[in-house]
């Protein structure tokens, strides 16, 4: 009986790596100048140039991933400490689908939230969120005070 309970506990244990022990990453925000591209086109041009410059080993060390592409802006995730290499690699992208482009790095950050805010992808900024929180706290305090009076 005890053994069965123990086995159940073992099965229920989470197998995911805790966030503190995962590889650290950086998010880089790029903007594409001079042409409007679809996500597929950007993906295609980006990988081909980086692969030809770094090779498969070098690219695996950088470990880039396109997180989001919207309004000619791309958020790319990479390993921490490899962001300079990622930016340098993008310098070699000059044409995508016969359209001349310039890829301009705008921001490097450790959290996707700040990158999204900088790019204007999120409607709510930190300031707005703070204001909303403050309003909620005020409402709660008002309701509690009115309850006390009753």
């Amino acid at each position: 009986m005890v053994w069965v309970i123990f086995m159940n506990i073992q099965k229920n244990k989470k197998t995911t790596i805790p966030a503190s022990k995962r590889d650290k990453k950086r998010y880089v925000l790029f903007e594409v100048l001079n042409a409007t591209l679809s996500e597929k086109d950007f993906y295609f041009g980006f990988w081909i140039e980086l692969l030809s410059f770094f090779g498969s080993k070098g690219l695996s060390e950088i470990n880039p991933k396109i997180v989001l592409f919207k309004d000619n802006k791309a958020i790319i995730k990479c390993k921490r400490g490899k962001e300079t290499e990622l930016i340098a690699g993008t310098a070699f992208i000059d044409k995508i689908r016969n359209k001349k482009v310039i890829i301009n790095p705008l921001l490097i950050s450790g959290t996707i939230k700040t990158v999204k805010e900088f790019a204007g992808f999120d409607s709510k900024t930190i300031v707005e969120e703070k204001e909303i929180k403050e309003e909620i706290v005020k409402k709660e305090s008002n309701s509690s005070s009115s309850g006390d009076k009753k």
Partner: protein
Amino acid sequence: MDLVYTQPLKELLQITSYFKENVVVIVDNEKDEKVAKTNSLIPCYLVDESTKDISKLSQKKKAVIGGSIKANEFACRINADFLLQPSNTKQFFDLGLAQKLFDNGTIVVLMFEELMSKNSFERHQYWKNFVEVVRYCKMKKVPFIVASGTKDPLHIRPRKVRSSLAQMLGLDNESAEKALSIKLD
């Protein structure tokens, strides 16, 4: 600071103002020099051994395209402000040359356009030689920059990209930024 060849002025000005970059334009005649000056660009004469009356250009900025022992030595002899592409698929750069460049205050420039236009086989040779050039420059404290070096305004690269390319070649962050922010009169 970025170095480019003369090119369509309107597009060049648009892009450089977007990137907020001081641009040195390589010119070969007085007309281009005037145009550059009127648009607050810094003109720089491209000089080689066949150029006549180099003494006339003593007050002006001079750039020499290296890539051979003769050309590199010529840059030292005339106190050039910029030495472009000191080595290509073969290495023509050593500590003695680096010391001379340091004494003259010459800036070593990698023209990125040339690197980009090559196929990957030639590119790896360029890269290997430039890593060596950067090592020598670091030893003798010669300023080294990566410039766009292009005739097409759409091949101009932003400052962050060029700085990270210099870092990949072996410079540290500080010296890469410092070399790119040298102000020319």
